[in-house]
Amino acid sequence: MVANTSSMDLSLTETQEMLRSTIRSLVSQEFPTQTLLDMDSKKNPFTTASWNKLTSSGWTSLLIPEIYGGEGGSLTDSAILFQELGRGPVPGPHFSSSVLGTLILLEIGSEDQKAQLLPELAAGKEIIGLAHTESEYDHEIVGMAASETHDCYILNGTKLFVQDVLGTTQLIITALLQPNKLGLFLVNSSTYGLEIQELDGWSTGVSNVHLNHVKIPKSSLLGTETSNGWVELFAAVERALPVLCAYQIGSCEAVFDMTVKYANKRHQFGVPIGKFQRVQDHIISQINYLDAATLSTYEALWKLDEGKETAKSSVHLAKALTSEAHYQICNASHEVHAGLGIMREYGLTLHTKLSRTLYHYFGDPKYHKTQLIRSLNL
């Protein structure tokens, strides 16, 4: 056979390989299972110490253009990093700040706003989150209205099921300016009248944000006069989603690895349980889900990085496949681990809980399938 002459190439660049291995060792050293369990069991799952461990590697600046003090990396670069964080899974406002928040600022921020905030984000000094969903939990619906006075906006109400806002220094809060125009307000997390209420339950990093007559200076409205709000927000979400998928894929990989390892180590009836066809079938289902999620996610990233027209449908495909994969891979792991898997100390349930939490974050599989069909214009 003659050597490959196509430009098609699914391998990582050397720099990307290095990024991957650096973050992989960092995560495995700094976030062993016990550390992750401690973070999970505390009311505040995120500490500055954990943030600093990661910022020191400069990863907060990855998606920020060089003119704002960042590294100007691609979404694929960011995904490689988040895939490794997902292997922990390392909790905290990493995605919400360094990906989602950053991309929103890049989409909608005025030149001044970007010049002011992005270098701070790049340096890891500011950490941002997005408070957007409300009681109907549909990111296409906002009911909260910003009332305008002569010198400020006033927000009242509650943002529900807000993801990863603990530990943030600033929040992007959405509220209607006009029926079809969305305001994105940058608000200090410790502003008077703003209260973050962590939520208990079978989910990770979810809070309510209560806004009680919160006054916001007019300069905190992101964007310019021509900004629509919805358009920029959704453009940023479209770019951010496959990085979130990569984070889920990292979690899937970790679960797959621990499942294979256990299936070969655990003996019952005198043989490793990996010898039983029913156990094998769980693992085969895992690798099939994992590979489908991984390939579709990295194709979406590649299309976004290359500015391909069909990127939109690829993003919906990736999120639909990945949410389902994450959910089912964890379930299959529980089947193989049986009793051991439900012990918190083993660590599997950190992933299981995460798979449930992210399943519907910015749209569950059903939502993305509907959007996929729309974007294909069949």
């Binding site: 109907e136 939520l199 079978w202 519907h360």
Partner: protein, 410 residues
Amino acid sequence: MNFEITFTPEQQEFQIRVRDWLKRNMPKGIEHPADPANLTRGGYEKQRELGHRLALEGWLYPTYPKEFGGGGLSPNEALIIEMELEKYDQILPPYYDSGGKLAAASIMVWGTQEQKSIFLPQILKGEVRTWQLLTEPEAGSDLANIQTTAIKNGNKYTVNGQKIYVGSSHGAEWSWMLANTDPGGKRHGNLSWFIVPMDLPGITWAPMDLIFAGNENGALSGFKNTVYFADVQIPTENLIGGENNGWQVADTHLEIEHGLMQGSLLGDHNLRRTLNACRKLKKRGNPLIADPSIQEILAELYIDSEVTRLFHIRIHWLRSSGQKISYQGPQAYLQMKRQALRAAKHTQDILGPYALVMDDKLSPEDGFIEVQQRGSIVAQHPGGTVEIQKLIMSRKLGLGKPSMKYGSKH
């Protein structure tokens, strides 16, 4: 054919008697927390109290013979008692107890006359609550691989070892256990079955940290425990069915276990709760229940629930008419486990983050929905994993000749 469980005039009278009795005898403030982890000591004691009172009527273990402390009643009368308890969110027995549920069946078959007269009445009258000690770190699906040893030593057995996924919150008076009485002996031929008083010196236990505290056979068991044995001395009188015959003794009740979940005949609480939540929560101004795409998911939930009900109706009929239950037992168990898992996903598909939150204001149905999300994962394993149910079914259906033996419990 007739698919309806109807009652004779005598049974209808009995139902009224039970109803009136419960009005007078239900302990005030009896608990039914969404999360079994929250069952308080006081709540547990009220359940035991209810148990005692029921036992005086012969209603705690209604179908066991009267001479051993049971009620000598029919499956239908037992069902009537369960139906009436259901109105108070209670079940039969009102607390976790593997004694009357499983151990008694083995003692009935394998115990000496003396053992029956000593052990059965205490169990069946609710004087003791009994844990089951089966699973070990190296003996899950492969129960024959039990490592806990019971070495004969005069008229005692010296027991050392460790059992996991045991029991409940708030302790127990007794346990029953399988231990290895002939290390090095033949697989399946080296185990023995014991009744163990839990206050024997050398027995200690500590709760396990699981994602869900148990809700076993509908009873709030609460936390599962690890139980340790350090040179515990068990009298030979507590050995049931003879030395090295434990596998056969356990087989008796493990077989029985799979026909006992007639709770499924009393309605599907998860479905009811999900429907309630869909009536209350709204999207774009309309209740979720009016959304055709959500109705499609509800149809799946409803159908799955109907299949479970029908499988249990058949088992009730087989039991009531004295027929043998074969593959139908593990089949119903498998269906319930899978239904729980599918229901969890469907419920999240419908309710999104509301399905996952445990919050006074936000949780639909007082948190029962969130608890089902965690509980459905845990429910896959007790009484034998899904794989074990399939293994038993295959054997009962006569497929090949499986060399694996079944009987995982935790």
